[in-house]
Every structure is written in C-alpha cells, then in structure tokens.
C-alpha cells in the first residue's frame, strides 16, 4: 500500500478514535467534576460510598476470577487440542465452537443458563432427581460465583482463540532439546514453556479482564441489578431507576477507566518483564 493511502486509513482511524473514544472520555471527566455550582468533587467523592465501593469490589472480583478461570481453562484446552497425537478433527470442532461461544453473550446467554442451571433449570432438576440439590448446597446462578460460571462460557472460548497462535509458535524441538538435556516435563514447562507463553497469557488475561469488567447485559439479564456491579450502577443512575444522576454515572465511568488504566499499566510492566527476550526489545 502506498504511504498516502495508508495515512488516509490511519487518519480515519485517529478521527474515529478522537470522536468516539477520546472526546467522550474527556467529556465524562469534565462532567464528573462539574456540578450546578461549577467545579466540585462531590460526585467523585460518592465513589467512596458503601454502595459504589461494593460495586467496584464485585466488578473487580468477578473480572479477576472469570479472567483467571478463562486463561487457565482456555490455555489447557488449547494445549490438549494442539498437543502431538491429538486427533485432527478435535481442532476444527473446538475452534468452531470457540468462535461461536466467544460471541454468545447478553440476554440469550443469560436465558440459556437460567433454563439449564437456574432454580428450575433442566440440569438443576435432573440433578435434584438423583439427589443432588445444587441450590441447597449453596450454589446460586444469581450470585458472583454464578455470574463467574456464566462469564466463563464466553471467556474460556475467547482465551482458546487468543492463545492458539502462541501454542503453535512453540517449537516441538524445544521440548525435545529439554528432554535430551535431562529435563522432566514439569521442568520444561516451568523453565521454557510457561515463560515463552507468559506474554501471550498476560495479554489474554487483560483482554478477558476488560471483557468481564465492561460486561453489562449478561449480568443485568441474569440478576436484574440485584448484584451491584459498576456497569449496572451506571445504568441505574443514567436511567433514573433510583434517581437520575448523570454526573455520578460519569464519575463511575471515570472510575472504571482509572481501574482499566491501572490494570493495563501493571500488565504492561509485567509483560515487558516477561518478554524481555523477544525480538521487539
């Protein structure tokens, strides 16, 4: 592609980013500190209230947990699918399913889980029939662990799709070289395999964290706002369910941005450390 055409596309991208990302973020930041009487920290200070602290706690807990479950399970599935000797058809089946499942979220996903493991769900009823009462055992789909389970439905396939190229880039000869030098399988993974995969695993974790942290529809459809998350709280103050307070919504949004920036910065630092051996350095 010739340079002027390339710059045309880059310019269009920068323009769209400015209009739909930078400008709204700036507006939110301004809105969060401007009240009826001018500059104020009143709305930002409301983030310290019990309700919103809990919302951030829940969102962070849910995002960290579902991202971690997604990374571990997704990596293990990709490993099993790509390891030498695995049947060829397994790969096409898993990747096709992952591509669909990674994009299956929102109300349909919530409904699918309610009809399966809800209080009157098919699986719940079947298990009850054989004497296993999930809800009596403390499980609830409409709780943070329940939400984590539902989020895992799209987080794990997303991780599978993200991590496949990283696994494919690993040379089988590394494993053979390690084995030839006397290493056990565990030593190989600890000293070579995982360090090589670490930057991709970290990047995947960040993507999954962001995906869970910003998810709204699935959580709302499942809990009807009974579990306080930052996204459902923003919806509540903007729609006027409790009271219409757009400035509080803006402050909550800025809070989310700050959390994402902090997590990204921390992960960047870790990723730089983990990938100091790569060509980019």
């Amino acid at each position: 592609m010739k340079a002027p055409i390339a710059w045309l596309f880059i310019g269009a991208f920068l323009l769209v980013s400015a209009i739909f990302l930078v400008a709204p973020t700036a507006m939110l930041a301004v809105q969060a500190v401007i009240g009826d009487d001018g500059l104020t920290l009143e709305y930002v200070q409301t983030l310290g209230s019990y309700r919103y602290v809990k919302a951030f706690e829940h969102s962070l807990y849910l995002s960290v947990l579902s991202a971690t479950v997604g990374v571990i399970a997704g990596a293990l599935i990709a490993f099993a699918m790509l390891k030498p000797g695995a049947p060829r058809w397994l790969r096409s089946v898993v990747t096709s399913f992952a591509a669909v499942a990674a994009n299956f979220a929102g109300v349909p996903l919530a409904f699918a889980f309610i009809s399966t493991v809800g209080t009157l769900g098919l699986l719940t009823s079947m298990l009850k029939h054989i004497g296993v009462d999930l809800y009596a055992m403390g499980f609830s789909l409409f709780s943070i662990p329940g939400l984590t389970l539902v989020y895992s439905y799209f987080q794990i396939p997303l991780m599978v799709i993200i991590i496949i190229p990283a696994f494919e880039a690993m040379q089988p000869a590394w494993r053979e070289a390690a084995e030839n030098l006397g290493a056990t399988g565990g030593q190989y993974w600890r000293m070579v395999g995982l360090p090589v995969l670490a930057p991709s695993l970290l990047s995947g974790w960040i993507l999954l964290f962001g995906s869970a942290f910003s998810a709204y529809a699935t959580a709302y459809a499942l809990t009807s706002g009974n579990i306080s998350l930052v996204t459902t709280e923003i919806s509540a103050v903007l729609s006027g369910n409790v009271s219409s307070e757009p400035q509080v919504g803006a402050a909550l949004s800025v809070g989310m941005i700050v959390v994402m920036v902090l997590v990204l910065a921390a992960s960047q630092m870790l990723a730089r450390r983990a990938s100091r051996w790569t060509v980019k350095q």
């Binding site: 590394w174 070289a177 084995e179 030839n180």
Partner: protein
C-alpha cells in the same frame, strides 16, 4: 569396546519399512556420518538413538547397556538440532547451563561449566545475548556448547549445518570436528551433504530406503563404492550399465576399458563407474586407439584449478562422460570439439548391476 551398537533396528510407519535391519557399531570417540537422500531414514535412526522414537525391533546399546526403551531424558546424550532449538527466553549462558541446572548441579558449577564451553565455541563475549540477538552460526555454536554441557556419552547432530550459509557452514564444520576431537565424544552426524560427510567423518554410513548400504572410511567409500547407488551419491562420475567382456565392459557398441576379469564372469551384468579425475582427454585426430572412446565436448564447468568437461560419447545412447582437466589445458577445448578419452584399466569401479 564399541560404545554405540545398533542391532537389527527396524521401524515401520503406515505399513512401510522406514528402517530395516540396521546393524552398526561405533568406536569410542568416533565420528560417524549418516549420509543419504531425504527420506532414507537417517533422521529416524538418529531419533531412535536419541530416544525420541522407540524401534519396532532391535536394540540400541550404549557402553554395552541396552537403552532401547530408556527415556530420552535418561540417556545422557547431547543433541544439536537443525533449527538450533535454543530456548528463546534464555541467554546463551542460560541455554548452555540448562542441562547441569536440571540435573541439580550447584549454580556456581553450572555457570563455570557453561562459560568454559562458550569459550570453547568462541562465544564468551556473547553469553548475555538472547538467541534472536545471535547469528545462525552463533546460535548453532551455542547449541553445540549446550549439548556438550551434559558431558554426553554420545553427541547427536541432526543436519546441524544445513540452515547456514556456505561460508559459515564450512567454518563451523571444521570447528565441530575440532571440538568433537577435543571432547573425545562419540558422535553421530546426520547429513545429506556428501562433501560435509566426507570431510568431517571417521566413517560414513550411506543409507537408502531404510537400509545401510555401506559403512566405511570416506576414502574407501569414495574409491570403492559398494554399489551403483553409493557410487552415484558420493562424488561425481559417470555410470554405465553393461556386460563384462574379456574383463572390459561392453556398453552398446563401445567396449569400455576396465579390469573386471577377476571379480566378474564374462557376460555378467554390471555397472561401471568412473570418476572425472581418472579420465584423460585429447583432441580427436581421426584415430581411435584401443581402450579409448570418442565423443564431443558438450559443456565445460570452471572449478578453479580444474575444469570439469562433459563429453557426449558417440553412439545412439548419448552416454555422458566427465573429465577433470587442468584449467590451463582446458582452455584449448571448446564445446563441439571432437575428443577422445581414456583411463587406466584399474580406474573404473565395476559393480554388480543395481536393480534399485
């Protein structure tokens, strides 16, 4: 005592014999090259010795001990791969000390040993570099040092030079030989490059179709190839299929000079192989003395001190014959010139006709 012995090794893949009846014994400190075309089974054989493949039949003995079913990690062998296969997340030093490290050697000892080996391969000043910061030749040197760090009983080199450019290949080939001799480690090198095999080995094992065709010193292989395949594969030369006639070889209307009467009965089907350096040529002035053949110069390839000339021999089959001529003499011959060629009777190698 032979330190590595291979007895009756067989391997099948998909109902096909990839290796059949491999018998080979290697002496302590010997460097042997497995040489053959792609798909001949040489890499499979090396991987069986390394422990990455379990043979369907036969035994691998190292120092008299049967290691056929022993895991690769327990064999105490060092291997160098074609693609270097250095661990990308480790520096050169960490790559070299990987073996002692997983064996639980004290860190100071690991580092000392790794530094000695990096010094041996001439990379002391590169110990802190990651693989991507090293050239192909340097990476392969690190891989060699890494393989030697475990003080292997056997060193296995799987086409270690094939990914390198010609100049580096030549330089590293000599270094591998020097280091191997210094370390005194029994070594198996896999290659499809006959020049590499002839220049580096104590003995060469020529393979084809999963079989060992000939195991001998480079000079023996070059001068007395066991059959037509070995003759064609090692070095260059002309091969003629014909019948023995009064000790010579009849090929169509030509009677090619040879000394086959002691080894082949008259009328037996044979292949006659003659190397370019054995053939002499001169301008054809109309006479064709006994023991000479006539032909037309088809092409000349300048090789420096020598020029290799291809003669198309007279007759319906357009047989070719190669002759190496000192370049200063070759200047007088141009393509299309009529020439006669001859050789000493003992120069050609006459072998039973190969049916493959």
């Amino acid at each position: 005592m032979a330190i590595v012995e291979l007895h009756g090794l067989r391997k099948f893949y998909g109902g096909r014999d990839v290796l059949s009846g491999i018998e080979l014994a290697m002496g302590d400190g010997e460097l042997i090259c497995l040489l053959g075309p792609s798909g001949c089974g040489k890499s499979t054989l090396l991987r069986i010795v390394a422990g990455f493949i379990i043979p369907d039949a036969g035994q691998v003995l190292v120092g008299g001990r049967d290691v056929t079913k022993l895991a690769a990690s327990k064999r105490q062998m060092g291997m160098v791969f074609q693609s270097y296969s250095l661990f990308p997340n480790m520096t050169a030093l960490d790559n070299v000390r990987f073996g002692p490290r997983v064996a639980g050697a004290p860190k100071a000892e690991q580092v000392k040993r790794a530094r000695e080996l990096l010094d041996l391969v001439g990379l002391s000043s590169h110990e802190a570099k990651f693989p991507h910061q090293l050239s192909g030749g340097q990476q392969q040197r690190v891989a060699l040092a890494r393989a030697l760090a475990v003080q292997p009983q056997v060193l296995l080199l799987d086409e270690p030079l094939s990914a390198l450019d010609a100049k580096v290949r030549l330089q590293l080939r000599e270094e591998i030989r020097r280091i191997q001799r210094d370390a005194g480690v029994t070594t198996i090198l896999v290659t499809h490059d006959q020049e590499e095999a002839l220049s580096i080995s104590d003995r060469v094992a020529v393979m084809q179709g999963g079989k060992l065709l000939q195991v001998a010193t480079p000079a023996e292989i070059y001068r007395r190839p066991a059959d037509g395949f070995v003759a064609r594969f090692i070095g260059s030369g002309a091969v003629f299929a014909g019948r023995v006639e009064r000790g010579h070889v009849r090929v169509g209307s030509m009677l090619l000079r040879a000394d086959a009467s002691a080894t082949h009965a008259d009328g037996s089907e044979v292949e006659m192989f003659i190397r370019p350096e054995s053939v002499q040529i001169q301008a054809h002035d109309g006479e064709l003395p006994d023991g000479t053949v006539a032909g037309t110069l088809s092409e000349s390839v300048f090789l420096g001190g020598l020029t290799r000339m291809r003669l198309t021999l007279e007759g319906p089959d357009n047989h070719s014959l190669w002759a190496d001529v000192p370049s200063e003499h070759a200047e007088g011959f141009k393509p299309g010139h009529k020439l006669i060629a001859w050789w000493e009777a003992a120069a050609p190698r006459v072998m039973p006709l190969s049916r493959e």
